[in-house]
Subunit: 366 residues, 2 copies
């Protein structure tokens, strides 16, 4: 079975590594000659809007999927004309590409969100802040990730510089949620409508970038709430594949932050920490296979490696530590790999965590 | 870090898949253009005794290893002249290539073996059978695997046909062990002499081919005995890497059958069923890293797929089943993949096993 992946980053790479044992073959399409999935599968080097190369991928593949949501709309329309199917559905990609569409859909489905307002001028920004109060977060509607394309507004004098930095493209102002913690729900949905939810994950961000995930977060009531909200989204989008939904936790309730129609950084712990990894379950869903168990096995902490990988020997000297290098060149702020610390019992994680945190530039779990 | 692997079969393929997350790069050398590791790493198509190609691999790699023991002695001597180191040590390969050397070493180390005798003529065979009694097993000293190159002698009239089938190369006659079960010890040894033993595995063969492995086999006394015997071998050979030692169990004691100086089919369950897989631990050992925990997580049954892979959808419909296709063309008697059935508790394996056995052509676990 031949699978084409549009996008050749670490998510594609881990999909490929999960797919080889399943007897799948892969090609990935990416504009970067050094796209890291190209180290593990044949790479078609191509811009995303190059119809000829997209068609080449679609002609080869029996099924197509994506490792990121910001594919130009032309990609989906090009692929729709091909014989090979693709998942997740185009609507899910379109919704996730635009924070306004996303928030509007959440609102329609009764998924709580922060207050939000579209901003197309400095005047509209002043008006919205007057209604919403500060702090608030100004974000580009499109193409934001890892904290890029957003500014926190804490005082009236922050408005003009933020507008000058981000303005010129459609923006969204969101009320700032004084959250106590951040969590995410990962779920896979199959062709037949079957849904499998992973245990709730707790996430820690620094400067908008995920640094640490912990699973399972044993919070049954929050988990049930998160699963229920995610179910509405999966069913409304007639979704197929893996989807992540990130939430703020405020006073023991969930407020949706954003969705990702793909495998997700906060699910990397599932490689060691779940019966079936998010990567395998995404492939199972896309291929119309039954989903695998999403149950956690033991307890896991995933730590992102930002900028550069820590030394392999130092990491692997820590009992229960697993090393995941993506084969990417070091660069400040870049996600180049992750570590997973695994133990059967949660109390056995602390010693290893204390040794790993400094290796990834974190002194405390935050 | 660049690793060269001599041999490009499924063992190399699984080493590569375990090594990519560790940030390793691979090239494999194999005479077959369709060597299945070539699907996941660059392949140097070459005969094993082609010095130029071996040198090309050694020039590229910083460390070399093997996915099979029957490398010509010239390979080790060629590689010894190269800058890159290689493991396991040449002596371990040489010992494993010749059943007489292997049995002799076992005998020196006090590792129990069946009675054995070298056979170089039909007359010697008659003499040896007279001393040893039937049944006995006549084996080629070199190049045997998966039951190939051996004949069971049950009655005097079996001697001549067996000699005619196998004679002309050096042979070994071994007493037949009326074993109650078969087990294997897998262990990794690092540069620093550190040894990590996996839990004892129970194996079921059919027609000389491994069909099913079950781990952990909860038999503490046998396990201790097996670990002690394997330790002697690892230390005597100054071994580095993963080694498998197969035993017959007779009246609650171990009788060594054979060793394999490499990752081993009876260790494939460690991918899902141990904290660190045999593949990762082989790479850790070879690279001079500390070894990872060999503890079992839950309970696993590994089923070999012989001849052809069962349908992916049927296998993955079984809760706890994992599919491992090697990307090899179907052919009668060929190992083309394996399945691993995993459960937290051993009593939860039976239902899944009953569904998987017919898919791999076994009606009962034997």
């Amino acid at each position: 079975m031949k699978i084409g992946i549009v996008g050749g980053g670490q998510l594609a790479r881990m999909l490929v590594l999960a797919g080889y044992p399943m007897g799948l073959q892969f090609q990935v399409l990416d504009p970067a000659i050094d796209a890291c999935a190209g180290e593990v599968a044949p790479l078609i080097r191509s811009d995303y809007d190059d119809e000829n190369h997209l068609q080449q991928l679609a002609d080869w593949a029996e099924m197509l999927t994506f490792d990121f949501e910001n594919v130009p709309a032309t990609v989906a329309s090009t692929l729709k004309r091909q014989a090979a199917g693709f998942y997740p559905p185009a609507e899910a990609l379109a919704v996730a590409q635009d924070r306004l569409h996303e928030k509007t859909l959440f609102w329609e489905l009764g998924i709580p969100t922060p207050p939000f307002a579209t901003i197309d001028s400095l005047e509209e920004l002043h008006d919205a802040v007057a209604r919403m109060e500060l702090p608030a977060v100004l974000k580009t509607r499109r193409l934001g990730y890892d904290g890029k394309g957003q500014r926190v507004l804490r005082a009236p004098e922050d408005l003009k510089p933020a507008w000058e930095a981000l303005g010129g493209v459609p923006l969204l102002l969101e009320g700032f949620v004084p959250f106590q913690r951040e969590v995410s729900v990962l779920a896979a949905r199959g062709h037949n409508g079957e849904i499998a939810f992973y245990p709730l994950v707790e996430n820690t961000h620094r400067d908008g970038i995920l640094r640490l995930s912990r699973a399972p977060l044993l919070a049954p009531q929050l988990e049930r709430e998160g699963w229920n909200l995610a179910r509405r989204l999966l069913e409304r989008l007639n979704y197929v594949g893996l989807l992540a939904l990130e939430f703020f936790v405020l006073d023991n309730h969930l407020i949706a932050n954003e969705m990702a129609p793909r495998v997700h950084n906060s699910g990397h712990w599932t490689i060691e920490g779940a019966v079936t990894s998010q990567f395998e379950n995404h492939l199972r869903a896309v291929l119309g296979l039954l989903l695998g168990s999403t149950a956690a096995v033991g307890h896991s902490i995933m730590l992102n490696c930002i900028g550069a990988m820590p030394e392999r020997a130092a990491v692997l000297a820590v009992p229960g530590a697993h090393y995941h290098a993506y084969g990417k060149a070091p660069r400040p702020g870049r996600k180049v790999g992750h570590l997973t610390l695994w133990a059967e019992h949660p109390q056995d994680l602390q010693t290893g965590l204390d040794r790993l945190l400094p290796l990834v530039g974190l002194e405390s779990p935050g």
